[in-house]
């Protein structure tokens, strides 16, 4: 099957920052992303988990964008501007996609 090179960017970010991040992505011309729920985690700022929580203060989500390689830098710049002072993790993986016209 014909596949095409792309980048899979995964941004783990505080739930309160989700809409700010996706707005920034849209401004940077990123048209597609998927948001995954996160149950809990641990990092330099300690451990957390969502069970029983009602405040959005302590949850995170994972935003996954698959993009053409040449769009990567724009995306990282705009994502970085949002996560800069916040906790969270940004990682990039090389991938292959079907239906390249969609990205």
């Amino acid at each position: 099957m014909q596949t095409h090179k792309a980048k899979r960017v995964e941004i783990t970010i505080e739930a309160v920052m989700e809409s700010r991040l996706t707005d920034a992505l849209k401004k940077a011309g990123v048209t597609g992303f998927t948001v995954l729920p996160v149950l809990g985690g641990s990092g330099r700022s300690g451990a957390w988990n969502r069970s029983g929580q009602i405040s959005r203060a302590s949850g995170m989500v994972q935003v996954v964008c698959i993009i053409k390689p040449d769009r990567l830098d724009d995306l990282l710049d705009s994502a970085f501007a949002v996560v800069e002072r916040h906790i969270g993790v940004v990682s990039v993986v090389d991938c292959e996609v079907l239906r390249a016209e969609r990205f």
Partner: protein
């Protein structure tokens, strides 16, 4: 005094308090007891809807007296001013830096709606009436404290503050719990006793039972916070978590008496001033002051001040309000 103690004791062995205690104990013992996030949110939606609705119905029944506007204004003033007091206290009593102190202070200016709910149920079981519009005052007190805190940070040079932008402002003012509380208040007001009659078997009769499960959940979350964040509770911090609600309640008492609220209303004004936010403000702080330490404000608000108010504070405030307002 004796009466106060027996009242406190009686308060302490209610299913509501004991459910909270069970939650804390289970968490500290590292039991895997947990309430799913969706269920906890569902319970909180129920409580907000019910308390707002009943407040509105009570306003529909007793009419609005001229004090509503003044009470709202008082709430807003308290929410603006209490963070300043809290901030000053924190800088004196603890080693917190400006940023952390401001973030914590915001919580104490704002309010905890569950503490309010628990207080109304204590008032009810003692047959003490209160102004229905106090739920609107509660809603009005959620946000101003955040502005005070950001101003405190900005004044100090602002490093660490991303400040307030219009998106954040909208998020705070239209935060889900404010909208639900105010919205159901208006629904209750519009539909009155007739509306209440239709849905009372849902929002009145099972209310206390639902509150028990919700407090079980809050206990679980608070206990987890204490287990993980307990080390931040140095003596100064701990002392603040108990002293500040007392100071807040005195301020609330002043306004309540000045406005001539009923003894129930005065007690609720004390409770609102004494309580610390754990829903709206923490979320706003993550956005506006991301470098402030969340375990400081969450542990203090949910792990110290909330249980203090729930167990000792509320009966104390109710007793004092009755004494002072001659109720």
């Amino acid at each position: 005094m004796d009466q106060l103690l027996s009242l406190a004791a009686e308060n302490l062995i209610s299913p509501i308090i004991l459910s909270f205690v069970l939650g804390v104990a289970a968490s500290i013992a590292r039991s895997d007891l947990s309430i799913p996030e969706a269920v906890a949110k569902g319970l909180s939606i129920y409580l907000l809807f019910a308390i707002g609705f009943k407040g509105g119905v009570s306003v529909a029944a007793h009419g609005i007296d001229g004090k509503l506007g003044l009470a709202l204004l008082s709430g807003i003033i308290l929410s603006f001013v209490l963070p300043l007091i809290a901030f000053a206290l924190l800088r004196v009593m603890t080693w917190m830096d400006r940023l952390d102190a401001a973030a914590v202070a915001a919580h104490y200016g704002s309010i905890s709606i569950v503490t309010f709910v628990a207080a109304t149920s204590v008032l009810e079981s003692q047959g003490i009436a209160s102004e229905g519009y106090m739920v609107a005052v509660a809603a009005a007190m959620e946000a101003p404290a955040i502005l005070s805190a950001l101003w405190l940070v900005a004044k100090g040079g602002g490093s660490g503050s991303k400040g307030m932008d219009s998106t954040l402002m909208r998020e705070i003012m239209l935060n889900g719990s404010i909208v639900l509380l105010v919205g159901s208040f208006f629904i209750g007001w519009a539909t009155g006793e007739k509306g209440l009659a239709e849905i009372a078997p849902f929002i009145v009769s099972p209310f206390k039972g639902v509150l028990c499960l919700f407090l079980l959940d809050m206990g679980l979350v608070a206990g987890r916070g204490l287990r993980e964040g307990g080390r931040i509770l140095r003596p100064g911090v701990l002392a603040f978590g108990v002293l500040m609600p007392l100071i807040g309640s005195v301020c609330g008492l002043g306004f309540g008496l000045a406005l001539g609220l009923s003894s129930g209303g005065t007690a609720l004004m004390m409770v609102l001033s004494a309580s610390a936010s754990y829903i709206a403000v923490p979320a706003a702080m993550r956005v506006a002051l991301p470098e402030a330490n969340p375990s400081l404000y969450l542990t203090l608000s949910l792990g110290v001040t909330f249980p203090f108010n729930l167990t000792l504070g509320i009966p104390l405030y109710v007793a004092v309000a009755q004494m002072m307002s001659g109720g």
